[in-house]
Amino acid sequence: MAEVKNVATRVGFGTALVELGKKRDDFIVMDADLAAATQTGMFKKAFPERFYDCGIAEQNMVGIAAGIAATGKKVICSSFAMFAAGRAFEQIRNSVGYPHLNVIIAATHAGISVGEDGATHQCNEDIALMRTIPGMTIINPADETEAKKAVYAAIEHDGPIYMRFGRLAVPVVFDDDYKFEIGKGVELREGNDVTIIATGLMVKEALEAHDLLKAEGINARVINMATIKPLDTEIILKAAKETGAIVTAEEHSVIGGLGSAVSEYLSEVYPTPVIKLGVNDKFGHSGPAVKLLDEFGLRAVNIAEKVKRAISLKKQ
């Protein structure tokens, strides 16, 4: 078996920026004094004259990005999820979302896997916040490969995009042949007993859960939902009809994220048991990311437990 490579999705983001930079010069990259961490530093190093540091002023950075986009140019601005979606929420809503401008907000260090920095930097609320903005597209890649492909797709996209990347090095799940399309979920494993819909680093855990469950005779379908908005309702409805129970898995609060999006959709069109796995309405704390993922129950074994509950709720 080939050795699994661990790479943070933020590194995929930085790598893709440099690749894009080699091909085109019609966009600007900005950061708010976190270039070394977000990985826009890779672009800054390769193309210093096309990179602007806004300093520690995320609200202004988002406003500047809106202004650049209003002149018809492409722009990518980056910070930690907490300070992009959190601190600059209203700037994203009013200066980017309302005029529907082509701004890519690349938020890194999302979720509990930030680790040692602790609760102030572990943003488990960003998807919820961004979902409420009309016309906002939200992409949460599962691995380095998907992160790169998502960046290439985002630069071609019309309208605002929130991209969510992680700090922690996570296994590369997809090879270069993987097809990424904004707004499309991808079925990674077949199964008709239950469906696991996962996003971000939980995709790898969902694949492991599939194997754990298979050993127990449960065939779990696994869907990677990188785009959380607009939601791929077609693949969800099909899964609900064919498997009758759903578990969602995300490294985000259970309030307002992927699980909420799936539940909100199905409750209106095809009521189906949906069990949400995520961070349960509490703040994180300092510690190594891998230990926090264990503690907060964001592992394959936890998904497998939720799957059994979901199956028990299936309509007879």
Partner: protein, 278 residues
């Protein structure tokens, strides 16, 4: 200053004031005080300064204007209508449910509006972004913005000011509509940003203080701004409610519409002034 131009601007600014009063009266809501205080600045920009084409509002290399104090939308709409971006007849649909003239500027649906604004402090960042875009991509357009004197209490304004100077955005000129009143009282009573010029100077901007109702001073300041290799803040001393006697320096006219009687009185005053000029 060219005498004919000055006379023409004075006439236009009075006509725009009519648009402001009529639209806000018709809407039964809006912000007349701060619209009347900045309308002379907007008139100068749109009629004597900016490279724009009302027939081609999205012209790529046009100069940009951002009304950072977005609640003065009636002034912007009235000036845009006078300039020919749209039919002045629709000004009286302001804020109505089927109108494109939103309570605050909407760049998606109003010809001539370069940026959606209304949440204070955000417009100047967008203006900075436009100026940065022009410099970065080698475009030679200029960017103008108007801030409120209350608005500059927002921290984002100073984030934007710091960045603009650091990146030497000499293609950016920001007016501060210094009418000395905000919703809750005078600027000093609420939370003084004075001295405004010293603050911008401390942020490495060039500053000019003028009478914001005097076209000669507006012109001179804008000419001076073009010779300065820095972003420029023009602190324009103005009178809130300028041109309608009962609204002048009256804080209660920040966000209230005149009733029929008061609207008629306001319009009569402006028409009388126009008749005198013509």
């Amino acid at each position: 200053m060219d005498i004919a131009l000055k006379k023409s601007l004075e006439l236009t600014a009075q006509k725009a004031r009519i648009g402001i009063i009529k639209s806000i009266h018709s809407a039964k809501a809006g912000h007349p005080g701060g619209s009347l205080s900045c309308v002379d600045i907007l008139t100068y920009l749109y009629f004597a300064k900016m490279n724009i084409d009302p027939k081609n509002p999205k012209m790529a290399n046009r100069d940009r204007f951002v009304l950072s104090k977005g609640h003065a939308a009636p002034a912007l709409y009235a000036v845009l209508a006078e300039r020919g971006f749209f039919d002045p007849a629709i000004l009286t649909t302001l804020r109505q449910i089927d109108s494109n003239l939103q309570g605050h500027p909407d760049m998606k649906n109003i010809p001539g509006v370069d940026m959606s604004t209304g949440s204070l402090g955000q417009g100047i960042s967008a203006a900075v972004g436009m100026a940065l875009s022009a410099k970065h991509f080698g475009d030679d357009f200029k960017v103008y913005t108007v801030l409120g004197d209350g608005e500059i209490e927002e921290g984002q304004v100073w984030e934007a000011a710091m960045f603009a100077a650091n990146k030497n955005l000499s293609n950016l000129t920001a007016f501060v509509d210094y009418n000395n009143l905000q919703i809750d009282g005078t600027i000093e009573e609420v939370n003084s940003a004075m001295p405004i010029d010293k603050k911008f100077e401390a942020f490495n901007w060039h500053t000019i203080i003028i009478d914001g109702h005097d076209f000669e001073q507006i012109e001179a300041a804008l000419n001076e701004a073009e010779s300065i290799d820095k972003p420029v803040a023009i602190i324009a001393k103005t009178v809130k409610g300028k041109g309608v006697s009962y609204m002048e320096n009256a804080v209660n006219w920040h966000g209230a519409a005149p009733n029929d009687e008061l609207a008629t009185q306001a319009l009569d005053e402006i028409y009388a002034r126009l008749a005198e000029m013509e």
